[in-house]
Every structure is written in structure tokens, then in C-alpha cells.
Symmetry: C2
Subunit: 147 residues, 2 copies
């Protein structure tokens, strides 16, 4: 099971359409690509796993500078993990945990927003819930992991 | 169709269990209630609609001070709307739009994070997508509305 950083190109953006969490971030990538602000071969913040040439799982892993950190004390450089998603038909095969373990292997603390039903998945991988703060968390369910 | 602000009590928290987006915010309310930090009759940031005594739709509407605003220019007091959800079996009857219109009737600008599939719903209610900023938006799909 090989995790790779996804290139920003039309093929990748086309594969993204199969995923549920397809929104303004993908639209912005499409617009940048269209307006040639970025090169075809540039790397995106997305990592994925291909099965037989088809993207079947992905996550976005964005490096946040300590100055934007609102979750660790003291503030530190960390990764924010979002849009972890495995396509229907490929769930339960370890693709999701392979992606999270890859993120952990990069050595920085991680913050993610856990959807209802995925708490146990993240707890097994060593994440813990934070104490909820409405101004900061705005309805999210932030979980953090430290190396 | 009557929208009302929900009280923080065990009955409300029990009704919340039927909703998908049940996470750290509800847990924090439960802990506060349990430790008597808040009174039984205090009001929550949640608004809902009852049908025959059963909570069938809800949203959280949190007032953000201008100093926490990252979406409007110039920064202003606004409402953040999250956890808008209608129970299965009650969708398509106008409960969701009744809640959003109630939020609009309060007169402050609104920011929300729109899930995939709900874009048209919010656009019809006058919301527009923002220009995506990864540091600020962190994978979300922010839409805003101004009175």
C-alpha cells in the first residue's frame, strides 16, 4: 500500500470528483491550474493511494506554521489533516489508517477534525480530543496527536 | 413552523443523540450540565424546530465578536452557523430553510461551512462562497451572507 503526494493536474482533479468532500479547495486548485498560476507538475497538499491506477483514498495534509497554531501549547509547527476519505467499496482495507500513519511518519504533531463515527479510528491511532472551545473550534471536533 | 432557542438540559442533549453531528460541543454541554456549572434552564447556542414534541431540525448559531472575524471586510460582529441538520424523514419540508431564514432575521452577517451537496440550498438563500484561503479555511467550504 503506497502513499504518494498527488500532483496538481486535471487527472487528479478529475479523480477528486469521486470524493464526497469536494469543495472550494478543489475549485481553487482548478482555477489556479486553468489560469496557469501553477505548473502541471506541482505538488498539492493531497496525499493518496492508488489501486490499479485509480485513486481510492486521499487526505489533505497542510503544514501550519507555529504562528497559526491554536491547538498546541506551546504553539508549534504542525500538520492539519483534513478530507481523509476512502471511496465506497474500498473501506475496511486499511487505506485510511495507512494515510494517517504516513502523516505520523513525517514527525510533526497533527490536528484533525473528527467526524461522528470516526472517533475510535483516530483514538486507536493515538489521537485525543481537545477541550472544546466555541470561539476556536466553531462546531468542529478537534483531535490532536503528538509524536 | 416555529423556531425556538433550545434549553440546555438532559432532554435536549438526549434529542441531540439522534443527529449525526454529535461531538465535542455536545459532550462539553453534557459535562457542564453534569457539573452544575450551568443552570438547567440556560439557553444553548442551538435553535430547533419541534414536530409533535420531537426535535426534528436544529442548527447552532454562535455570535462572534468582530475581533474574531476572519471573513468580513471590515471585520464585524456576525453569526457563525454550524450543525444545520434535519432528521431523516423530515427533509424536503422546509425545516432547514426555516432555520436559516430565522438566522437571517436576526440581522447580523452569517458565515457557514457548506457541505458538498448543500451549495444550491445556501445560494438560493442568498449566500456566496468566499475565495478559498488554506490557512484560514483549513479544508472548509465557507459561504457568507450579508443583510
Amino acid at each position: 500500500m503506497h502513499v504518494e503526494q498527488l500532483k496538481i493536474n486535471y487527472k487528479t482533479l478529475d479523480e477528486f470528483k469521486k470524493f464526497r468532500e469536494n469543495g472550494l479547495e478543489e475549485l481553487a486548485m482548478h482555477e489556479e491550474l486553468h489560469s496557469k498560476l501553477i505548473e502541471n507538475l506541482n505538488l498539492s497538499p493531497f496525499y493518496g493511494i492508488y489501486d490499479d491506477g485509480k485513486l481510492v483514498a486521499r487526505m489533505s495534509l497542510y503544514k501550519m506554521d507555529a504562528k497559526y497554531d491554536r491547538y498546541f501549547d506551546p504553539p508549534q509547527d504542525h500538520h492539519e489533516l483534513w478530507k481523509l476519505e476512502v471511496l465506497p467499496g474500498y473501506k475496511g482495507k486499511g487505506y485510511g489508517s495507512a494515510l494517517v500513519r504516513y502523516a505520523q511518519s513525517l514527525g510533526l504533531p497533527i490536528k484533525t477534525n473528527v467526524r461522528f463515527g470516526a472517533q475510535d479510528f483516530f483514538i486507536k491511532l493515538g489521537f485525543s480530543p481537545v477541550k472544546y472551545d466555541p470561539i476556536r473550534d466553531r462546531g468542529e471536533n478537534p483531535y490532536i496527536w503528538q509524536p
